[in-house]
């Protein structure tokens, strides 16, 4: 089972790099959706016995991360009628290299962080979560369009979600559901706001949204 989980995590890591190197926003949305679906699968695999709460949690993750949020984002992408390219601040290749460096650093870092919980868990969980968080940050920092920043936020959240699996016994279901709900509402609101900002200012470039800085 552990091997299967590790294999899935490797896929997630590879998807991270894909997300960094893709120029079409719609493709990035799809990548993040696949990541969400894989996460739901990993949640199921982490548990020996499938209880109702576990199943509920996994189904909710898949439903929200893989279906609802991508659908909302695709809709808002259409409605906003923007150029459907990512417009990176750092080029695609350098972004991929940065992401790879971050993944390697996360793997190295985890080796020196040998605590009890880590030893018991499938070996890739912590590095995968840290690497995903870092990649999320890189997307957030290096992309200008508001909608691709939302994607960075989603990747970041996926990283946190992976880490949460370690603590799945400790974190009650309610908390996890709350996190999912937060995420969903956040994306929903941002999508609507993006739409409105676009209508009002005919630009969604976050570089221009600086006049309120003081």
């Amino acid at each position: 089972m552990t091997d299967l989980i590790n294999a899935l995590l490797v896929v997630i890591l590879v998807l991270n790099l894909f997300a960094l190197g893709t120029s079409r926003i719609q493709s990035v949305i799809r990548i993040v959706a696949v990541q969400g679906a894989l996460l739901g699968l990993v949640t199921l695999l982490m548990h020996e016995r499938w209880t109702v709460p576990v199943a509920l949690s996994a189904v909710a993750a898949v439903l929200i991360k893989a279906i609802v949020i991508p659908a909302v984002m695709v809709r808002s992408l259409r409605a906003a009628e923007i150029k459907r390219e990512v417009e990176p601040f750092i080029g695609f290749l350098p972004s991929i290299i940065l992401g790879a460096v971050a993944t390697a650093a996360a793997l190295l870092f985890t080796r020196s962080l040998a605590t009890g919980a880590v030893a018991a868990a499938p070996s890739l969980i912590i590095p995968a979560s840290i690497a995903t968080v870092l990649v999320g940050f890189i997307i957030l920092i290096s992309r200008f369009k508001a909608i691709s920043q939302v994607l960075g936020y989603l990747v970041l959240e996926n990283g946190i979600y992976i880490f949460g699996m370690l603590l799945i016994e400790a974190i009650p279901l309610v908390v996890e559901m709350g996190m999912l709900l937060d995420l969903f509402v956040g994306v929903f609101v941002i999508s609507i706001i993006t739409n409105h900002i676009n209508q009002a200012f005919s630009s969604m470039d976050t570089r221009r949204l600086v006049s309120l800085k003081e």
């Binding site: 601040f89 870092f109 020196s112 962080l113 840290i130 870092l134 940050f137 957030l140 920092i141 290096s142 200008f144 920043q149 976050t206 570089r207 949204l209 600086v210 006049s211 309120l212 800085k213 003081e214």
Partner: protein
């Protein structure tokens, strides 16, 4: 039991303003309930202190866990905190009664409830500061006190008040910053935030803690040059708030210095020397500035600076005695300082309340616009006179006793290694005393004697009972301590004896304060003086009653005198201020009078705030020029901010996970 009562008192103080928030803005009920709660709290607190002094001289303490990390809810009452608590339980309740008439809720519908709330919290937080025995709790109470004082002092919204409030806020936060550093150092050196005796404190750490305490608490106490906030805040606050700030809140700074010094082992000689020198400078500078002021409340505020200087000199003497191993110096210094804490806590509120009554009646704080109020407001004039006599340290009022004990202490220290220091301090105290007399002769004669200048005093009359009763109570307190200092000396002496090293000498070496300072003589001399004055008054009255004719006060042989011919307070003060002109940097433009029939000429003078204008403002402007460079960090770009978050996350991961030392 004792602590329960104290907690009840603090709760009553802190909640006193709450009912008023739920009542209509134009209803006096909330204000009355606030005053009632304040008085009830004060009485509860005084009962607790009485029990503590009567029953358990060592005091009471309590330590409990609480939800704050690192620290415990540790409180205690010992003789030193009792001294300060007594003031906290007396002055704010009296002030709240005064506020009923002075800051009438109907007239100040917008600010009344807010002021009452801040005022109550201020009093409660001060009491909490005095009993806290844990660094964390102390800081929380301290910050509450500082903020409550800000909101109380800025109740009267106006540009000048706002500016004074800002300066106060900046000063108090710089002070608190020093205290943060101090408590952090304390925890590092002793291993805990608990404020307990730390005999094993390394000397370097102790020295650093003392310096930080001196600066941090010095801001609150108003040691020169850290007093920049003090005159403006006191002058622009409502008078009962000024009274509490000056009479009690400044003393919390003194309390902090004394508390921290008492916890540390054997102080080196430079601690006492530094404190004494700072006190002497503060005292002399304070009173000289006071003479130069034109605003009655600013005079009183600077005079508070002077009195804090006197208290600091006494505390310095005690520290010096501690390092020289001479218990009698500790006793004399601490008794003088703590007695002066009480004395100043009684007569300065009295004077501020008197100044407030004058302001209410005339609508101005300018001494130059006042005059002749003794005839229109006889009760206020008499009470203000009592306060002035007390603050000038003249018998039979209370200021005399404390300064006398300090003189004895300084003279006793003459033979020791630090005789130069002690001699300087004695001379400084004498100088301060003389200048204080000049200052209060100036203010009293300018405001109450002579003829009214202008029409500001035309409709002035004595205020109602709610203003006069608190003032009378304070004046009675001054007279009681002045006539019978031996009544309250046991409490002060207990505090002084609890100082480490003060109670050690026993047997033959045991020092008797009663012998060194025969306070019984003060009572007798005071009574004799009063009798003599009464006799003189009766004699002149009998002589005058035969041919009493109404005349203007300042006739001087002129056929048609006008009020403008009187000596003004400025002209009176100019002769003294001139002596200190290098220190004071006069900004007066003088016009010489030429010829037999000189034309119209003008004299303009602006009392400078030396430390504020010369030191604090340039410093602030320099900081203001430098800080915009930090705008580089604030670009308004979300990406950049996220980058900061990422960098911090990575650094924290490196530090926490890999153990990379910072």
């Amino acid at each position: 039991m004792i602590l329960t009562l104290i907690f009840a008192a603090i709760a009553a103080f802190a909640c006193s303003g709450l009912p008023g928030l739920f009542l209509p803005a134009r209803s006096r009920l909330g204000q009355r309930m606030a005053a009632l709660l304040m008085v009830a709290g004060g009485l509860l607190g005084l009962i607790a202190l009485g029990l503590s002094i009567a029953g358990r001289p060592e005091g009471a303490s309590l330590a409990a866990a609480w939800m704050m990390p690192r620290g415990s809810f540790a409180v205690a009452i010992d003789p030193l905190s009792s001294i300060f608590l007594a003031l906290i339980f007396i002055v704010p309740p009296l002030g709240s009664i005064y506020g009923l008439g002075y800051w009438d809720q109907v007239e100040h519908a917008r600010s009344g409830a807010r002021l009452a709330l801040a005022y109550g919290i201020l009093a409660g937080a001060m009491a909490m500061v005095a009993i806290a025995r844990d660094g964390m709790l102390f800081l929380i109470a301290w910050e509450l006190m500082a903020l409550a004082a800000y909101f109380a002092a800025t109740a009267d919204d106006g540009p000048e008040t706002r500016r004074a409030g800002w300066i106060y806020l900046i000063a108090t936060h710089i002070g608190t910053l020093c205290l943060f550093a101090m408590f952090a150092l304390w925890r590092r050196s002793t291993g805990a935030f608990a404020l307990l005796q730390a005999p094993a404190l390394p000397p370097e750490a102790a020295g650093a803690i003392f310096v930080l305490a001196l600066v941090g608490f010095g801001f609150k106490a108003g040691l020169v040059p850290l007093h920049v906030w003090l005159p403006g805040a006191h002058a622009n606050a409502p008078s009962h708030v000024s009274a509490v700030m000056s009479g009690v809140m400044l003393k919390m700074g003194v309390y902090g210095i004394l508390r921290m010094a008492s916890l540390m082992p054997q102080p080196p000689a430079w601690w006492g020397g530094t404190l004494m020198a700072a006190g002497a400078a503060t005292g002399v500078a304070g009173i000289v500035f006071a003479i130069a002021q034109a605003d009655i409340k600013r005079v009183l505020a600077y005079s508070s600076v002077e009195n804090v200087g006197i208290i600091a000199m006494g505390s310095g003497l005690a520290l010096l005695g501690s390092s020289l191993g001479r218990p009698e110096l500790i006793l004399l210094g601490l008794c003088g300082a703590l007695l002066h804490v009480w004395n100043h806590g009684l007569f300065k509120p009295l004077l501020f309340l008197g100044a407030g009554a004058v302001m209410n009646a005339t609508g101005t704080r300018e001494i130059e616009r006042l005059g002749g109020l003794a005839k229109r407001m006889p009760a206020v004039a008499a009470l203000f006179l009592a306060g002035s006599v007390a603050i000038c340290a003249l018998p039979p009022m209370n200021g005399f006793a404390s300064e006398w004990i300090l003189y004895i202490g300084f003279f006793r220290a003459l033979g020791s290694d630090s005789s130069a220091m002690a001699a300087t301090a004695a001379v400084a105290l004498a100088l301060i005393g003389a200048l204080a007399v000049a200052c209060f002769v100036r203010i009293y004669s300018g405001v109450f004697l002579g003829l009214p200048r202008g029409d500001s005093g035309a409709r002035a009359c004595d205020p109602g009972a709610s203003l006069l009763v608190p003032m009378a109570a304070l004046a009675l307190g001054c007279a009681a301590i002045g006539l019978a200092p031996s009544l309250i000396l046991p409490a002060v002496l207990a505090a002084a004896r609890s100082w480490p090293g003060a109670g050690l000498a026993t047997g033959e070496a045991a020092f008797s304060l009663a012998q060194a300072a025969p306070l019984g003589w003060i009572s007798r001399a005071g009574l004799a003086l009063i009798a003599l004055c009464a006799l003189g008054f009766l004699a002149t009255r009998r002589a005058r009653s035969r041919a009493a004719r109404g005349r203007p006060t300042w006739d001087c042989g002129y056929a048609a005198p006008t009020p403008r011919m009187q000596y003004t307070a400025s002209s009176f003060g100019l002769s003294i201020v001139g002596l200190f002109s290098p220190l004071r940097a006069p900004k007066n433009r003088r016009l010489s009078v030429k010829g037999y029939f000189p034309g119209e000429s003008r004299l303009e003078g602006k009392p400078p705030a030396l430390a504020l204008d010369r030191v604090a403002r340039p410093l602030g402007l320099a900081i203001d020029r430098f800080l915009p460079r930090l705008h580089l960090l604030q670009r308004g770009q979300t990406h950049l901010y996220l980058l900061y978050v990422l960098v911090i996350t990575i650094v924290l991961l490196a530090v926490g996970g890999l153990g990379v030392p910072l």
